[in-house]
């Protein structure tokens, strides 16, 4: 949900609560809007096991243990309700389910939350009171909150705080997920997900199936039922249920958890086709590789993290035999005998279909055209008509996307991580990103200046933990989990909890952090728990890297593929 359409709303907030979002490194251009909010007198609260760059100007910092966000959020809701800071009128008029959630929050006094999250009860009280007493609060989260086996509960707990304080459907307020990639938001709207149809419709909804099948000129029965998510696909390949795979711009050897499992799975495929712009590590397992295009090489519309549909203009042609991704897909459809459903000549034709297919859905694109997007510098969905201006802030009318039009409190119940710490594995491992690398590194690990900026993953550890193991900055350290171990250099910094190890995940092979992570999924979102693993560490000798994939330094010899 992007109830607060940042960044334009951010400077208007009185309080910004940022949990599990390394905005400075993963959404850098959002930073200036956060600083503008502070210039306007707004307060910044950051909850993260590490001091990320924006923490330098935080008014309150909550260094919680990995995977304990829910305990913190429940404690904050407890304080808001205990101190009578909730918005009674909003709750009464526009929501359902409050009593159930309020009764549950009663059990979470800040001291209980503090014991689990490892931050002072006084700090939990302060964060809750700042939000509860403010007129406008924005609660921002990203993968740190979501990539957990209870990610949906975590997000519900954020929404519950926003609903309890009436911080939704007005300027400078709202719960806000910072979606990731260029079109990461759009992917949730166009029907790319295994359980969705265009317009954020559900593939399991009979009415939605009927409508979209009509748009596509097929019978609803011809549509599949909701399918597997990314990790479930890999599990099904490993078990032999899925035997063929066609993937686009997907590097699961680096980006999915338990990389050794992923490698085993890929080797079992009877057919594996890859569409990608570079030869990723995963593409090396493919039977057929089709050279696709970068976004600079293909025109089209996408949706930004703020829910604004924008125009990505092509600036160069794909080189050599590389082709536009849409042409590759259309050609495959023709070879499969389904060409009549793909009569598109260019991306604008595809938009015409999406406009109709999304019409009446939550993410309604019907009023969006290339001309309007260019004239208005982007249009916020829903935009149901050609004369509709778009919707810069959601829920201003206090009508929500539910059957009764009310916002629903959802109870978020505490449960432990899928890979709990114990005496054998007493530390938390959390993974994430660095500013100079992007996702699985297929693009950024081949750009010399970016490689120089952060050439290889380092294990961030606190000096107190380092001392226990006689580890100095730059020493080799082995990080062990229940899956595998990894030997990389240590980075000893006072900016991480002493019970936590952080490793960025952008690399492959012997430097892959995802060899250590586990495949526990959130039961509803099916997102793996990248952010919480149990681990232990020890001082190590320099590993044998003779068969390693070294980085392509600008002054060294490139290995070709990254």
């Amino acid at each position: 949900m992007t109830a607060a359409r940042f960044p334009s709303e951010i400077p208007k907030a009185e309080v910004l609560f940022v949990i599990g979002a390394n905005i400075g490194e993963c959404a850098p251009i959002t930073t200036d809007y956060i600083w503008r909010c502070r210039d306007n007198g707004g307060r910044l609260i950051v909850a993260d096991p590490r001091m990320t760059p924006i923490t330098r100007n935080a008014d309150l910092y909550l260094p919680l243990r990995p995977g304990t966000d829910l305990a913190l959020l429940l404690g904050m809701l407890h304080v808001i309700l205990r101190d009578g800071l909730e918005d009674r009128e909003f709750i009464h008029r526009y929501t359902t389910g409050f009593e159930d959630v309020a009764a549950d929050a009663k059990q979470w006094d800040p001291r209980r939350s503090a014991e689990i999250a490892g931050v002072p009860p006084e700090a939990i009280e302060k964060a809750a009171r700042w939000i509860g007493k403010s007129k406008r609060a924005i609660l921002m989260h990203a993968r740190g909150l979501e990539h957990q086996s209870k990610g949906v509960e975590n997000c519900s707990a954020v929404v519950n705080i926003a609903l309890a304080t009436g911080n939704i459907g007005r300027e400078g307020s709202g719960p806000t997920m910072i979606t990731g990639q260029g079109n990461g938001q759009g992917g949730r709207e166009h029907g790319q997900k295994c359980d969705q149809l265009p317009g954020q419709r559900s593939l399991a909804d009979p009415a939605a199936r009927q409508y979209v099948a009509g748009v596509w000129g097929i019978r609803p029965e011809e549509l599949p039922q909701p399918g597997y998510s990314a990790q479930e696909i890999m599990n099904a390949i490993h078990s032999g249920e899925i035997k063929g795979l066609l993937s686009m711009c997907f590097n699961p050897l680096v980006s999915l958890p338990d990389a050794n499992f992923t490698r085993e799975a890929l080797s079992k495929l009877e057919f594996f086709g890859v569409i990608d712009f570079f030869m990723s590590e995963t593409a090396h397992h493919a039977d057929v590789v089709l050279a696709g295009s970068l976004h600079e090489e293909e025109d089209g519309l996408g949706c930004s993290a703020e829910g604004r549909v924008i125009h990505w203009q092509k600036s160069i042609d794909p080189p050599g035999q590389a082709r536009r991704d849409c042409d590759i897909i259309i050609d495959i459809a023709h070879r499969l005998g389904r060409g009549r459903y793909f009569p598109f000549k260019n991306p604008a034709d595809i938009l015409e279909e999406l406009r109709v297919a999304s019409r009446g859905g939550v993410a309604d694109y019907y009023g969006i055209t290339y001309e309007r997007v260019d004239q208005q510098k982007g249009i916020f969905w829903p935009c149901p008509d050609l004369d509709h201006p778009g919707t810069p802030i959601l829920f201003m009318d206090k009508r929500f996307y539910t059957h009764d039009g009310k916002a629903h409190f959802n109870k978020a119940e505490w449960r432990p991580s899928g890979d709990p710490v114990n005496e054998e594995y007493p530390l938390y491992l959390t993974t994430g990103r660095v500013v100079s690398q992007y996702l699985s590194g297929t693009q950024t690990r081949r750009i010399g200046a970016l490689v120089d900026q952060y050439p290889e993953p380092r294990a961030e550890i606190h000096p107190r933990l380092a001392q226990q193991h006689s580890i100095n900055d730059g020493d080799w350290v082995t990080v062990m989990t229940r899956r595998d171990d990894l030997t990389i250099r240590a980075m000893v910094v006072r900016t991480i909890r002493p019970d936590t190890v952080f490793i960025p995940y952008h690399w492959a092979g012997t430097r892959s952090a995802n060899r250590l992570t586990h495949r526990t999924l959130d039961p509803r979102s099916k997102i793996p728990e990248f952010k919480v693993s149990a681990c232990r560490i020890k001082l190590a000798a320099k590993p044998d890297t003779s068969d390693d994939d070294r980085p392509a330094h600008r002054n060294g010899t490139s290995q070709g593929c990254t």
């Binding site: 400075g24 850098p28 930073t31 200036d32 002072p120 000893v492 900016t495």
Partner: protein, 198 residues
């Protein structure tokens, strides 16, 4: 120039180094960045800072140059050394109170930030300020900077030496000691770590 001034605010820097990359891409000195960038003390803190040249009204670098190779234009921009004149003695590198000039190898020439003279002299913004996502390096009109919490200043004291500059530095309205250890913000019930938050 054109109503715009350059403002540096290290407290807004997030360490992304976009400014270095953008500076390196400039056609006039490709592959060499004129930005000065530091993590203040990475072991202790995530604070970082990126600087361009302050372009002093009376540039120390030019005053100490024995070859008269460093020139300041009427517009206040202090340029890289003139190649035919520079003898690569390094006096300017040693003398600059801000640590800006860089001795380039193998050119054997001092080079420094010229505020993207090719761009700013034509009314365009400098590369670094164009890409800076947190506007720690900002090239804006004074009205815009007035909206910020911090105040701009272009007066510096280095011991006895008073320096005034073309580029402004944002200074905090009030100063506070900054606690940098994550442990200071943590809490554990029966542990040596006592809650220290006020």
């Amino acid at each position: 120039m054109f109503g715009y001034e350059f403002y540096i605010d290290p407290s807004r820097c997030i360490g992304c180094r976009s400014c270095l990359q953008a500076c390196e891409e400039c056609e006039t000195h490709r592959g060499k960045s004129m930005i000065n960038f530091d993590f203040i003390e990475r072991r202790e803190s995530i604070t970082s800072a990126a600087y361009v040249c302050w372009h002093c009204d009376e540039p120390t670098c030019a005053q100490v140059c024995p070859a008269d190779a460093i020139k300041k234009g009427d517009d206040g921009i202090v340029h890289s050394s003139l190649k035919p004149r520079c003898i690569a003695c390094g006096n300017c590198v040693t003398a600059c109170p801000f640590g800006i000039p860089k001795m380039m190898e193998p050119e054997q020439q001092m080079m420094k930030c010229d505020m993207c003279y090719d761009r700013t002299s034509a009314g365009k913004r400098p590369m670094c300020a164009t890409v800076c996502p947190s506007q720690a390096l900002a090239y804006v009109q004074p009205e815009e900077i007035a909206r910020r919490k911090e105040r701009p200043t272009n007066i510096f004291y280095f011991g006895e030496q008073k320096i005034t500059t073309k580029v402004f530095m944002m200074a905090p309205a009030e100063r506070d000691a900054i606690t940098l250890d994550v442990v200071d913000y943590m809490w554990e019930e029966k542990h040596e770590l006592a809650a220290t938050i006020e």
